[in-house]
Symmetry: D2
Subunit: 394 residues, 4 copies
């Protein structure tokens, strides 16, 4: 497979080609864990890392529907790659939304030119990283961060920290090879095993003031508060893609390898009324998840396009649409990735097929933040007309 990023190709076609390639090794890489270095380099060469960058800055100028379409396509075959690919754009959006126009232009341009892969070291709930107040145009980062998805093999990092005694996050965009940055390869979890969501240690890391994203800063404007919306919708899209991949895989397995149950009275499982019912149930759940995710994606694009004119009400409506999509994809996904075995049968549990990775990936990722609090937000809207209060999780 060769990818020529210079050619003006349809990003979805490129993504599809990559997805086929990722699929062929996904089960094996899931077992192995660690960094999917070859796949990350394919992504670097594909041009898909700068989809979000506007054309005037050298990128593809893609909107969220296209971009999340790529995330979804990847998630069908590999939840881990979809995750870090989604985070690439979440990190870029962080620069766009929290930083100044100059920072955005500079970093976006470099992302295109140098095929930067961005990693995450922003974790509002892990308070162990501090940053000194500016002195002589410089600050010092110190501490550790957990759940740093995509930090390994990244070129740039988004790091969050707090100044002693202050609650507000300070967020910086720095090169991963900056002196003192140590990316630990310590992610060994039951799912999303190739997301490198381990620990980043920051040992007296110098940060210059123009690496701080402070205009308007984290959640510093209505527009800036779209950042958690983007994060949540990216998650929902990953869940949707995983569920779609699982259902497709189940279908292939049932058609090709499952036997009719002896008491079913039919010759093939594809005619068994109970097998059909289960596929129907999974389909309805998935269709709902799809419809809500697509609706939410359009809402995000409208909010993004509104720019600084984005009203709190419109932001709230967008957040609600995304919350509904997240709940629906979480539920449909968990049901499908566990229920797929009821329609494939005992032999489908062979480790060689690795079909449990869909559930393990989804189950792991859906724990990012509790779905119960999304449901509460939706209830507060349904009953009290409330809009979600912007936070890093809403």
């Amino acid at each position: 497979m060769s990818l020529d990023p210079s050619a003006a190709r349809d990003p979805l076609a490129i993504a599809d080609e990559l997805a086929r390639s990722f699929a062929s090794t996904a089960a094996e890489r899931d077992k192995r864990g660690g960094t999917p270095k070859a796949e990350r380099d394919l992504l670097r060469r594909s041009g898909l890392l700068s989809l979000l960058v506007p054309e005037e800055l050298g990128g593809a100028g893609a909107g969220w529907p296209l971009l999340l379409g790529v995330v979804r396509r990847f998630a069908e075959v590999d939840g881990a790659i979809a995750h870090v690919y989604g985070f690439q754009h979440l990190m870029l959006a962080t620069v766009r939304l929290f930083g100044s126009g100059a920072q955005w232009r500079r970093l976006a341009r470099s992302t295109v030119e140098r095929s930067w892969f961005w990693g995450n070291a922003l974790n509002p709930l892990d308070p162990r990283t501090t940053i000194t107040p500016p002195r002589g145009g410089e600050r010092v980062l110190q501490g550790v961060k957990s759940f740093c998805s995509g930090a390994t093999d990244s070129d740039m990092l988004i790091v969050s920290a707090t100044q002693p005694g202050e609650a507000r996050l300070v967020i910086a965009a720095i090169p991963t090879d900056r002196a003192g940055v140590v990316v630990h390869q310590d992610w060994d979890n039951m799912g999303q095993r190739q997301t490198d969501s381990g620990t980043v240690e920051l040992r007296d890391v110098l940060v210059s003031e123009d690496e701080i994203l402070s205009t308007p800063g984290p959640l510093g404007s209505v527009l800036a508060s779209l950042r958690p919306c983007i994060a949540q919708l990216t998650f929902a899209t990953v869940y949707l893609g995983i569920a779609e991949g699982a259902l497709a895989e189940a279908g292939r397995y049932t058609r090709a390898q499952t036997r009719a149950w002896f008491a079913s009275g039919v010759e093939r499982p594809t005619e068994d009324p109970y097998v059909l019912r289960r596929y129907g149930e999974m389909w309805v759940g998935l269709e709902a998840a799809r419809a809500l995710t697509e609706k939410a994606t359009l809402a995000l694009q409208r909010a993004w396009d509104a720019g600084d004119a984005l009203s709190p009400e419109a932001r709230g409506a967008c957040a609600l649409a995304i919350a509904a999509a997240k709940v629906a994809t979480t539920r449909a996904g968990l049901e499908i990735t566990s229920g797929m075995f009821d329609v494939t049968g005992a032999r489908a549990t062979t480790a060689a097929a690795g079909l449990d990775r869909y559930w393990r990936n989804l189950r792991t990722h859906t724990l990012h933040d509790p779905v119960d609090y999304k449901i509460r937000e939706l209830g507060d809207h349904a009953l009290n007309g409330a809009l979600p209060k912007p936070s890093f999780y809403s």
Copy 2:
């Protein structure tokens, strides 16, 4: 309230005004049952009965999204009126889809000019009505039909019958006051009490050949096979509207009248975490039902617009979208109309409020045809790529 159909008003605004009027008497009329004569006459005067009729035939030329939007608005306050109003258009669509162009133009024009309200006497599963073969340009209908929604106080009827020894339905459009047509006022059921879904008796009813809808006839072309799609989507829309009405009513009640549970630790039920959770759950279900119904409505409009160019594949995709909407609205509706009491409390069961009518209406209407067979169709598609086989129920 006065309605001036001559004024060019937004149909949704008219519907909204009517809905407010219907709402004020809905609980009382539900208890009473029978024919909502005053409300039917308001509908006759509103101009909304000919929304589907193209402008060149004197109607409003509305599309399905607008038309079903009116059905949904009515269903929020009165499932029975929404039902017969939806059937008005299902009957008209039957003329359009099963009959000749000349029949459509003639009957559509008269519907506008005479404010005809159409009733149903088409019931493929009730075999008790026969029709003679044509002799001298005339046929004779004989027998009874059950579940004839909206037949009482109707101006025109769509009647189905079979010729002895033949399976295919013969469908006629005849005036309700035709000699021999006896509309029994025998609908007394637990829900949808003002739909007059009782029995029509046909005692040697003469039908002229040009009253038979035979070009292309029932399900006689791909386009004609949209008729069950329209029926099913109308049902889903009624279910959706009922559910939306129930949730809105629950919210009003919780906010105004429910007390906080003594062990909740909060002052008002609107802050109770479990009450919020239940509203959130109902909201997610409803949002999914809404998204799927809206998607299905656009699919129907596209299929309708395709006319005779409609392909079996496009018809199948439309039917699948509608099936998903129907399953989702049925489920969300049943959960909301029963679960609304968990968030309103024991005092909300007072007969004066009549809140059980939402569940009774929905529960009754959702039995039109078994939802299990819709799920089976969706499963057959998900697993085998099959399209629903057109029938009067698919």
Copy 3:
């Protein structure tokens, strides 16, 4: 039908005979509402009102398994009668648990001798009734109470009130015909329509000190705190019986009147794989509800038998078993009473059959106190090992 209470007959056989009688008029009486006077008098003559009274006081000396077995049998055919019959024993148990030995002996004996039917005017959440401090051996009740099940046509009432400025309930057992007691016939709700759960007004009602149940008083000992356990288990038993009655009724209907769905490929609905699945699901839910209710009933009997030796831990274990039974019966009941229509079909909605009364009865009764707080209690035990804190609802 004649009942001879003097004959030593098996109470369950008597209950069964009565149940058959109640069943024949249940649908009609549900429509009518009001007081089931004839049925209440049958109960008075049956001897079943004093099942709980020990043999040495002239009663049947029945245990809770037998007594709740009668409640369950009645609930199968008439949720309202089951409710007031269950409350008869809850009121007697209130005397036994909150009052002195002398009070219990006196009132229990009179219950046997005069066939007293007890009604409820104890409602801890309705603060509108006050009682004066004792003066000259007398107190005065003043105010109103809502949800007074079985007060109409009762011989004795259990009334709760508070002294101004005090939180603890004062509870009295007084004759319903005491001067100043006005039982309003204002219960007109969507379900449990013949429970007379309306308002009792107390206009300067004199109460003598020996009518106050104050030794040990409400929840005044570990044993006394079994009172809410008895209430909750009585409810669960009513829910279970209603669900069992609904499933039995559904089965009769499906077998006798439902038609096979045209697309099912079978001749009778009793062979339809989806109909069988639904019955299987209802059965599993009901079996679980049954097993938990039976387990809880044995736990209650053990706790009751322990008398003053009952430990808080044993009381807690009993309360937990009852909470689980209540949640399970509520859920299974709501699913069956709504789902029964999916297996009986549209024609089963005829008002003549009155099948919606199962749902209306259960839905109404299950709102007594929020099931969510029962689930919370169970979770607090599962996670933290906590025992339910005794209150009038736990």
Copy 4:
């Protein structure tokens, strides 16, 4: 740890001691897969392998409640060991039920004396093994069997085969070291990884006629048809134990390691209303599963005790009770083993904790035979009064 089988110790105490030992290595052994040789030898030395053997044959003479209590205790910590331990008794019961009294006495005695561990090579749905008709008192087995749980490191095997042209199974009990028996170590599946449920190959294996269990033979009498009941209840018990272990593990994790969600308003997750709710839901499901499994276990014991006097009706009732238990344990188990993560959080997905093994074990084992057909059987009983038709799966 030392176990002295000669001492008369409470089997449950022994099991508890073993379970603690198994628990300490369960996560690590799950990763490794293969045969738990050390643990199997501990079982051999524990005396627990002959619990089912009557005292007069040298065994413990335990009933099914005790025996399945041991299975459940093991399953709490290690689903795989519970499975093969349960199969030990299923194999013994196969000898008892399908074979002659003499065969039972001989093999039961040897099981005690030589601490035999029995393995399975009986698989009615794998038709690849044949047996010749008897010739000179000998037969020859030829073919392969899949899903042969516990065959590795076993001392004896139960093997099923068919004679060419005949449908009825021939079942033999032979030593695993018989010439021609090749036990492949090819079980590498996503769950139940240490059950050795791989392939057994039979290369011209000689079987003597007195090794054939033919009096009364497979399902050869009402009593013999208890064999599938025992299998199904053993499965249900394993599912129950896994679920109980998962919930206990979740509780320990939540209490010790989970942090309160920042938006919860409480300090510890043990006070979070939504966390409590989830524990409550899991508890209710588990309590129901427990109650049904215990009820089914008593039903099995009664049926077992009935011996040859067992009626088809009593056998049917037992099978129904077991079917309900199986459905309930399957459902509660799947919900708990997946839902446990919602209350433990993202960090609980660390591979070091290995908490996904509960789901993987349960998901794998619950595919033994489709739960949908159990539900159908229950529905057939609920609607039609039918009893499950004895087969190797009912």
